[in-house]
């Protein structure tokens, strides 16, 4: 198999080859490291490349597997993670000059779980500075570029993760999602991104943006790959009191179940307003694909979702301001101007407004929960527009000029406020060749349901098979 073919094999496909010892972890790791060398200058997705460490891990995995000690589907798989996951002794910058020399004393719980599963960590990926933005245009190493058009943003804040996965520079990644930061770049880069239920995956050792809104989840090229990664990272963690003891099901088994009779909720307000026409057409085509696969469509009403952006911003800004208080006092000039201004704004929000936003959040969650008692999942676009150009600050939608960050995150924020699981899967491309994402939102801890629906859609579509120019 040619190196480029190998690098675009799915995580699941590579796992089978490694288990059969037809491909060695060393071979797979060298293939992606060579690819990073060759293409990442054009993408700028890696902040830190762990060449020697990765090859040491790969040799160890190879020896274990040859000795008959195969650990499971992530054993020997080269992955990379967003640079806000703590990695012991390895710098963790959160995309900021302020943490450019920060070497944590311990691994994030999810990093430990990936290590225990035998995954090979090849590097740390760029992100919007401190995850405080949706474009990835502002970071320690400069803008990250979208593999489908390097003059465009990959989305953010987990933009490096999405770009690297989409370009075959790793077989899967972890991102974090506070207002859409896994799903937005997944949609703009044509990959799968899953934000699990709040409490499903540990946030211990993950540099926070907003405690009550932050989620950790997988980013991968296929739904099965995302399921396999979630399987490893999900579950209770005594170091994160917000994690739940709810049983973690076998996600890859759940995927293959028939979706005949599954009820899909189509929101009548908000989610299908202010959409780029090509996004609208692709999403409706995807909904029809799901209907043909056996799902039943039902109208649902979610009028409060339109307030999610305001409530989410106020909560996130206030919590961020507290998280960054010390740095704002001592390292203010080391932030980018955009992020510093955003954090300073958070310092000006009176407590009563924070609580008002949290009260509104209760109503939004109650409304979403009521809709999801009637249907199994909500189906919507992930992002109302395709990837904007780097430096673009506004976009015209429905004869209105709106702010880019507002546009990028308006459809993803409600699931963060509710804490409910949501996944973005590729559902089409614009005529200009830019990916479009479909979002499925499920009941709390029903990740298996949205993965199953996403998988059913993937089986009937070809979008995940397209590759960018690299």
């Amino acid at each position: 198999m040619e190196a480029s073919e190998l690098c675009y094999t799915s995580l699941r496909g590579l796992a089978i080859l490694i288990q059969r010892q037809e491909v060695s972890p060393v071979e797979a790791t060298n293939a992606v490291l060579d690819r990073v060398d060759k293409f990442d200058r054009q993408l700028n997705s890696f902040i830190t490349l762990l060449r020697d460490e990765a090859l040491t891990q790969a040799h160890a995995a190879e020896q274990e597997i040859q000795a008959g000690r195969y650990r499971g589907p992530l054993h020997g798989i080269p992955i990379a993670v967003k640079d806000l996951f703590y990695t012991k002794g390895i710098r963790t910058t959160a995309g900021s000059k302020i943490l450019s020399d920060f070497k944590p004393a311990y691994d994030a719980t999810v990093i430990t779980k990936l290590h225990d599963a035998g995954a090979i960590l090849i590097g740390k990926l760029t992100m919007h500075e401190f995850a405080r933005g949706a474009t990835n245009a502002s970071s320690l190493i400069g803008a990250c570029n979208n593999p489908w058009d390097t003059l465009r943003v990959p989305g953010g804040s987990s933009g490096g993760s999405a770009a690297a996965v989409a370009a075959g520079l790793c077989f899967g990644s972890l991102g974090s999602d506070t207002g859409g930061s896994i799903r937005i770049p997944a949609a703009l880069c044509g990959i799968v991104g899953l934000k699990p239920t709040y409490g499903r995956v540990s946030r211990n050792g993950v540099f926070p943006l907003s405690w009550s809104l932050d989620h950790v989840g997988p980013m991968a090229r296929t739904v099965m790959d995302a399921a396999l990664m979630l399987q490893v990272i999900a579950g209770h963690d005594r170091h994160d009191p917000t994690t739940r003891t709810a049983v973690v099901p076998d996600y890859s088994v759940a995927l293959t179940k028939d979706i005949e009779g599954a009820r899909l909720g189509i929101p009548q307000e908000f989610y299908f307003e202010h959409l780029d026409p090509e996004v609208r057409n692709s999403v409706w085509a995807a909904i029809q694909t799901l209907e043909r696969a056996g799902a039943q469509l039902e109208e649902v009403s979610l009028p409060l979702s339109k307030y999610a952006a305001a409530a989410g911003r106020i909560i996130s800004l206030t919590e961020s301001a507290e998280i960054h208080e010390q740095f704002l006092r001592t390292r203010s000039s080391d932030y980018s101007s955009e992020v510093r201004a955003s954090l300073l704004t958070g310092q000006l929000i009176p407590g009563k407004h924070y609580l008002k936003a949290q009260r509104l959040r209760s109503l939004i969650r109650q409304e979403m929960a009521a809709a999801l008692r009637r249907v199994d999942a909500l189906v919507t676009p992930t992002v109302p527009i395709p990837a904007p150009r780097i430096g673009q600050t506004t976009v015209d939608i429905s004869q209105e000029t709106v702010d880019i960050t507002w546009a990028l995150s308006r459809l993803t924020r409600p699931a963060n406020l509710a804490g409910f699981p949501a996944i973005s899967v590729p559902c089409g491309f614009t005529e200009g060749g830019l990916p479009i994402g479909l979002q499925l939102t499920g009941r709390p801890f029903a990740e298996a349901t949205i993965l199953q629906l996403a998988y059913a859609h993937e089986q009937e579509s070809i979008w995940h098979q397209r590759r960018p120019m690299f």
């Binding site: 239920t197 709040y198 409490g199 009550s212 009191p241 917000t242 739940r244 709810a246 409060l304 307030y307 952006a309 305001a310 409530a311 911003r313 106020i314 800004l317 101007s337 955009e338 510093r340 201004a341 955003s342 300073l344 704004t345 310092q347 000006l348 929000i349 009176p350 407004h353 609580l355 008002k356 936003a357 949290q358 009260r359 509104l360 959040r361 209760s362 109503l363 969650r365 109650q366 929960a369 999801l372 008692r373 600050t393 702010d403 960050t405 406020l417 804490g419 409910f420 009941r443 709390p444 801890f445 029903a446």
Partner: protein, 64 residues
Amino acid sequence: MAATTLSPQTIGEMVRKLGGLSLSPSELEELAPHLETLFSDLQTLASVDLGEVEPETLFDVQGE
């Protein structure tokens, strides 16, 4: 982010009152569009009838 219509003096006064922060003119200029968006968000919140609902803490999401 909304384009600002506030004067630097007004913004500086607001920042001092709300946050106790004394910022340079350039920092105030950076802050202006963010404040416009914040005020728009606060107006949005004020327009919603919240009834008697209590604030969400979300540290206990359970199956519905």
